[in-house]
Symmetry: C2
Subunit: 397 residues, 2 copies
């Protein structure tokens, strides 16, 4: 047994802040058994009444795309969301294991067909997050196949050890007290969010190689970072690691074009490189990239909001992920290395009550990375003044 999984499991239930008497829902993939079991152990030791682990199998999904009637690929059984909605109704805890388990599993499939099947993503997920009914956390799970994807020049065992080392560092498990280290980092992120809130910008202008994009903000767009609180007052850390400061923009005021600075990995494992998106009136009207770009086009056509922006997040150069210059092919990590935007649903708590109706609504939420040290972020005040926000990855406020 690899005891590093025990430490990571302990961090995960700390992030989710599992309470005695809660059910802990653990969402994992086949291949992540060791961490799932460590999370279960840690959850029970914190007093969970039950730990409900589910394993998604991307190879079963591959069989569906290959052999099922194409017209049935968007079918989802009625009972699929029962566990998620049950956890929400009971105000339970959730831990999701991130990372990659089968990098090539969807190779050679029709990306349009693949886009029709959004499982294991559930459309109810966004509501459960907005409801703030559950305390939850996502942590990455090391896997040998993932390691070989990230470090193709290393032997399998060496790659796996390297992945552990880098994740150990970015998860701050190399600190004497990882929980205190996260409290400190979340404090810094909070301060940056408050500085942005104090400026009351009307829009942000992003300029860099392949990118010239202006993103309007809503009057009550509120910058947040690091921790959430449930309706019942349980503070939790939804993403570990986390390095971002984020808000929800005005879905009708996005103009210009943007080029991704890191590969986008969809929840089903599809990797899209060299993504270039052009926006008009808030809508993504052109989505180009490598041969998998069709999967993203397919996702963005599922509903009206799927082609609009629901999140804008800024990442400074002080985080631990960016300096590694490693591409993890995993959104949780890569989005925290670089500033990013998300197509699809906005988090309701990102704005005041009066602007909730103007937020973007969608069944999807797909982050894609646009930040780099070259990306200049400039705030535009309601009066039209332009104020530097990020230059060379450093806060200017």
């Amino acid at each position: 047994m690899d005891t590093r999984f025990d430490a990571l499991g302990e961090l995960a239930v700390h992030g989710a802040n599992v309470q005695p008497g809660q059910i802990l829902g653990v969402t994992a993939a086949v291949g992540q058994e060791e961490l799932a079991r460590a999370v279960a152990s840690a959850g029970y030791r914190r007093g969970a009444i039950f730990v409900d682990v589910t394993y998604f199998d991307p190879f079963v999904k591959r069989e569906r795309i290959l052999h099922a009637d194409p017209d049935t690929l968007s079918f989802v059984p009625d009972w699929a969301p029962a566990r998620l909605l049950g956890l929400a109704a009971r105000r339970d805890a959730r831990v999701s294991l991130g990372g990659v388990v089968a990098p090539g599993v969807f190779d050679g499939l029709d990306s349009e067909l693949l886009g029709r099947d959004q499982l294991p993503w559930l459309k109810e997920s966004a509501n459960v997050i907005d409801d703030r009914s559950t305390n939850w956390s996502i942590v990455p799970c090391p896997h040998p196949e993932w390691a070989s994807l990230v470090y193709p020049g290393l032997e399998r065992d060496a790659a796996y050890e390297r992945l552990w080392e880098e994740l150990w560092h970015v998860l701050r498990l190399d600190e004497p007290d990882p929980r205190a280290a996260w409290d400190a980092r979340v404090g810094v992120l909070h301060a940056s969010a408050e500085a942005l809130n104090a400026k009351g910008f009307d829009a942000l202008h992003l300029q860099g190689p392949g990118t010239d994009l202006e993103i309007g903000l809503l009057p009550t767009s509120h910058w947040r970072a690091g921790d959430f609180e449930t309706v019942g007052g349980i503070r939790h850390l939804p993403n570990l690691p986390t390095e971002e400061v984020f808000t929800a923009p005005d879905p009708d005021r996005v103009e210009g074009h943007v080029t991704s600075t890191r590969p986008l990995v969809l929840k089903d494992g599809t990797i899209i490189r060299r993504l270039h998106v052009r926006f008009e009136g808030g809508r993504a009207v052109e989505i180009e990239g490598d041969e998998n770009a069709g999967a993203l086009r397919s996702h963005t056509s599922v509903d009206e909001g799927a082609a609009r922006i629901g999140e804008l997040a800024l990442v400074d150069r002080e985080g631990r992920i960016g300096p590694l210059e490693t591409i993890f092919y995993d959104t949780l990590l890569d989005e925290n290395a670089a500033s990013h935007i998300a197509l699809g649903n906005a988090y309701a708590f990102s704005v005041g009550e009066e602007d909730r109706g103007r937020l973007n609504k969608s069944t999807i939420h797909i982050d894609f990375m646009i930040g780099s040290l070259e990306l200049e972020v400039t705030g535009v005040t309601p009066a039209g003044d332009r104020i530097p926000v990020l230059r060379d990855g450093a806060w200017q406020l």
Copy 2:
């Protein structure tokens, strides 16, 4: 990829007789991924609209028994039966993968605590079978850990190959047309069942080493074998392999004592050897055996019917499992090697409408093997005549 899993997957969906437009629920354990994927592939190629695979992880259950509050161990989330009941409501198909994946996973645990947690078994399962709403099949899944348990004298790889060979034979996959071979064998089992039905026995008397047991039958106790039919008329083979002829007895008229002839393996993997049970007035009043017997005592105390008999099954010497003389530590296989009784719930379709109210009712159904070539089975007519049924494993009717 091991193409033998493809053949086994094809047999499984043939057994369940998956229909176009059905959802196929596949219940597997961690470690059975290859067969689960082959079943999914075969299911989609038969026209399933969705294949819903769930993987149970016994190592997560181990963490529960070790670390959860003992008073919470029988807790089951409200949503646990949602998939099973959803499949039943839609009249869908089900495939369960049998066999062992982790022989020692519960070693060293308190068997009484272990007995409190009956998952992955759901109390709703018996009703779904009685409703005849789903067409289903259970097939065994080869696994290296299972093979090492069954053939402790062989090296790991050799044991795994030996397990494949024996399962291949008992599943009749070594026949030119395995489906036709199963049609023929089920025909023979049907004939034996009809011969028993023609006699109208009031009781069966079982005598052998360590066993002297008389089991009363209900007036309409009906002997069945091999195949079931859903309410919608879909014929299916619930167990592959199957070699048994079975009925439901009178739960109030069981007297005497019985000794198991093969180890009993509970659904959670607990193995109970040298089981000896004494019945009075239909109830199991003494349950003795090795150190795991407490787990069975715990199961039989969950409700009134759990200590009474719900099934009596006879297996002749012509089946393919018995002659191997292999102990598989798996009920699906071992029960089809030898005559057996089951503690707990009776299948409603085993008797006529007028006797349904007299059938044993329980949330459990645990088969245990009592048959051998030495076991003499004698029928007792309502007039008290004694007629030989099985001698030296051969039918006498």
